[in-house]
Amino acid sequence: MNDLIFAGPSGIAILCAYAVVMLLIGWYAGRSGNTGTARGYFTAGGGLGMVTLFFTLYATQYSGNSVVGYPPQAYREGFLWWQSVPFMIAVIAVYLLFAPRLYVLAKQKGFVTPTDFVRDRFGSTRLSLLTIALMLWGLGNYVLEQLVAMGHGIAGLTGETIPYEIGVIGFIVVMLAYSWTGGMRAIAMTDVMQGTAMLVGIGALLAGAVYLTGGLGTLTTYLADTSPELVGVPETADAVNWFAMIVMIGFGAAVYPHAIQRVYSARSERTLKRSLAFMAWMPLVTTGVVFVVGIAGIQLFPGLDTAASEQLVGLIANEVAATNVLFYLLMILLFGGIVCAIVSTADSAVLAFSSVVSSDLYGRYIAPGASDRRKVVVGKLVGVAMVFGLLAIAWNPPGTLFSIFVLKFELIVQLAPVFILGLYWKRMTAGPTFWGMLVGALVAGGATLIGWGPFYGVPAGLVGLAANVTIVVIGSLLLTRDGVRDDVPATR
């Protein structure tokens, strides 16, 4: 995002204002909630109401990548990128497969981390450890993506007025401060502010794009004349990939640890199902709107290569801000919205990472007698260490933003069978579940690393998932040929 005219002092002012609001909310949440216990700190004691739960689901699910990374994707792929709307709805559809029952179990048994369910259901140490390893890898990658996006966002949109390093470290300190004082409750409450800022920012981006193109009515005709491959029916492999991405992101995003912890955090079933009912519509006003902006970018800035197109949001913001004061202010709101989108996703992933390390590793294997309060402190320290460790990697970001996004889903989707089949299928046993998850992860990760796939549009993550489910089903059937095992804890 080169030579941006607008940001500068105004950009710094909006960043400072947002940072102060976040700190105040965190301070209030820390004062008013019980953050001394693991369940209180990591899941807000299962007490999030409808508005807070909705916004924390929203602000967490839609990251900075959704605002900064998706318009370039639409720019390069054309109408094919509409898939980003159904694949975000699919996340809620997959929730429906397991969240209703998992919510009831979590309330009954006081679950704090996703591994609590795996341990309760299967009672297997090696399966729990493999689950933890995949979750930590996925969460680490997720936070790394946000740190990279934060660099793109802050440095790019302020035209380097705020250097990359200062911008990232400044917001990390703010994020860690409110997370430290208020845990999940502070994160969810700041998500209300951050989600609102994000929605306003996306609205401002759309308004700017529509203003620059002079309306979207003739866009299809323009594209059909100049770039017919972007509006015509995609090739069969791309169409297959459309469906495959809906399946992979639907299953992958729904079983992310911070997603599962939001199921645990709901105050009641009523708040959870109403929040998810609203969430089903949010892709239309988020990735749907961002898609339109990317398509408008094809007309506004034709001929950008992959690297140049990654700067599309900055290019649009720059052009729009230069037109008049109103649009200048709107672009400042967009800028704040992007930063909020990034921070709101990063804080949730850091909290989930902290909870898994402190409760599942430290509290279970390193110091089994540790008090709840000590586990919370360890979790906080782990969060700080994790973020600064990942910063070292973030200084040299690998690839484009989207390539990072796909890579993490390849592995995290391997967790889907243990939660979804594990809840309902009593014959499912720990051994085949472990081997299925391991083989699925090796196939998916290995294929990605050596550059195999996608296989006729099907990503390696889904090939791994197919292997995973096959091993789980056949192995469990063979091991329990006499029928349902009695030693498997019932889930109803």
Partner: protein, 98 residues
């Protein structure tokens, strides 16, 4: 000892989406209908509301997908709500404002 017992019958009024497989069959059908695998590659005409026909179908499918998922959340999911509502009412009667 016979282990091959059938799934327990849910209590009256309890609704859990996964116990109605037809809901997910409909969701799959909606998603497949919106996947652009059914048309010849490169087809743009005819235009519907200013966009290619295949894309209009995908957008309609997406709207149906969101609407149906939302409907399932609100109408086909009811496991703990009655008990939680009763518990909340009892707590309110006791003056417990936690």
């Amino acid at each position: 000892m016979d282990h091959r017992r059938s799934a327990p019958t849910p209590p009256p009024g309890e609704r859990e989406p996964i116990r109605s497989p037809w809901l997910f069959a409909v969701l799959l059908a909606i998603v497949l209908a919106g996947t652009p695998v059914w048309y010849p590659t490169g087809l743009i005409e005819p235009l519907v509301f200013g966009v290619p026909f295949w894309f209009a179908i995908s957008v309609a499918s997406t709207l149906a997908f969101a609407g149906f998922v939302s409907w399932i959340c609100l109408r086909r999911w009811n496991i703990a709500e009655a008990a939680e509502t009763a518990e909340a009412a009892a707590a309110a009667d006791r003056g417990d404002d936690r």
